[in-house]
Symmetry: C2
Subunit: 324 residues, 2 copies
Amino acid sequence: MENLEALQKKIRDRIAELNFQQPPKNLYQPINYTVGLGGKRLRPALCLLACDMFSNASDRALEPAIGIEIFHNFTLLHDDIMDEAPIRRGKETVHKKWNANTAILSGDTMMALSYEYIMKAPENIRFEVFEIFNQTAIEVCEGQQYDMDFESSHDVTLDQYIEMIRLKTAVLLAGSLKIGALIGGSDGSSADILYKFGEQIGIAFQLKDDLLDAYSDADKFGKATGGDIVTNKKTFLYLKALTIAGQEDRKQLLSLYQSDKMDPNEKVMLVKTIFDKYDIQQHTENEIDRYYKLALMSLESLDIEEHRKTELLRFANQLKRREY
Amino acid sequence: MENLEALQKKIRDRIAELNFQQPPKNLYQPINYTVGLGGKRLRPALCLLACDMFSNASDRALEPAIGIEIFHNFTLLHDDIMDEAPIRRGKETVHKKWNANTAILSGDTMMALSYEYIMKAPENIRFEVFEIFNQTAIEVCEGQQYDMDFESSHDVTLDQYIEMIRLKTAVLLAGSLKIGALIGGSDGSSADILYKFGEQIGIAFQLKDDLLDAYSDADKFGKATGGDIVTNKKTFLYLKALTIAGQEDRKQLLSLYQSDKMDPNEKVMLVKTIFDKYDIQQHTENEIDRYYKLALMSLESLDIEEHRKTELLRFANQLKRREY
């Protein structure tokens, strides 16, 4: 078994070789820029890991894993236009560095390129891989739509929120694992268990992200604490607080989340005072723990030698413990 | 052999059945709206026609043909954002009726949906169909990029222009025919000949569009004559005129194409005076004729019973003769 770090390096090395030099350069330069921005390359590495678990031959999944990473980067590129985000991974976003039209069209091309790489899966499993990937791609779009819908909705439930992050974040982790497993030769039910694991750990991952945004060491996390609060983002913390807070605090929270003009530091302080009053940090940690444990149970139920699960277990633990 | 009109109706009927009712509705409503806007359904009908030519069983290609039409509508949707077009087929564009974010994301989802339908091709030929479609999708994006690049370029050549319209318009017609032929059971070289025919007729089609924009009965054509001139679009007519006009006229033409403030009617009149002086209408008709004849030669070289070519020949003649 290769460890996750080695597999991440394998992905980085393969991506370094991708260099779209064909014309038109105004189309392919932003693609090279986007794919080269870095990141943890977690999804494709998990794809390789799952393949390795069943085959000791992670390379079999290398090209489809690259397709997954290109797709992931495409979604970030288009999301950044929609969110008007100026910075991604410490660098200017494509729609800022070039323009929105370039970002739209380069993204479209990346989507087609991602299918090209996905379809390099071994022939015997190619169509199944395609079906998982395509379903995942559609669900990621649905998740992004819910995320945008929630911005202007005033009655988002916790269940709806979990469903949104499942679609927007978790299914791509899940699909990466399932695709890798199938390419590695796993049977369908093992692949489905890994999919479930990916969903559960993906939801835990996003909840942890919500938590760290409000409660973390800003230097480690790499962005200012409370960014979600300042932008009125309806995270798990906020929705949980609305569910359990008393009427007065609930009212104040709703009113704070309708203000755009307030001093950011004061706003974060006032919101977190309410959060703290209702132990929101603890509630969120409990929910993370719940999904984390579900993920571990999924992994336990997987019918494979125990030592083949070690690396995925270590990955789950890292995610849980991360402080940034 | 079914005739083209019958095949267009078959496509319209199948599209009428598509009705994405699943949530989130803010994602799928714009998709239903876009796919339902109408249009001639030419690409999918040609796909069925090519399939019919080799199999007498056009239905075999029905689902992939729908994938082609969804893809075509997706490109129009994203192009309309980039061009800031307010109207498409007489109705508000999605980014106007909803907003740009909705248009981006619904388009992305349509792209994934188009792959879903493409991959319903019969299993024995599925991967080949995918490869043609995916290559075509990438080339259409490249064509759109060149089209945008040309807006700010001052040294576009006629060859570059033809290559742009080949990518942006012709390859999807060509790919539709090739995919249909292969699903119908044609050999590779026959499919390649139909691809070539599609490219040639597609270029002729776009050149005819350029011509009709400047020289047509506005009532029949459905838009004001000279729209391309008013918006400084570097069409075949303009580029040809630059190539053959005397120095003074060339200068005047360049200067006219840099003015945005001029009275539109006066601008169209002045540009067309130069066009007329150099017989641009005739030159363009000659070029259309050249591509039309190349297409006919391709069709002649196709090794299939002559009566199986009749419908495609009739289609080519219709395109050539159209006055709107």
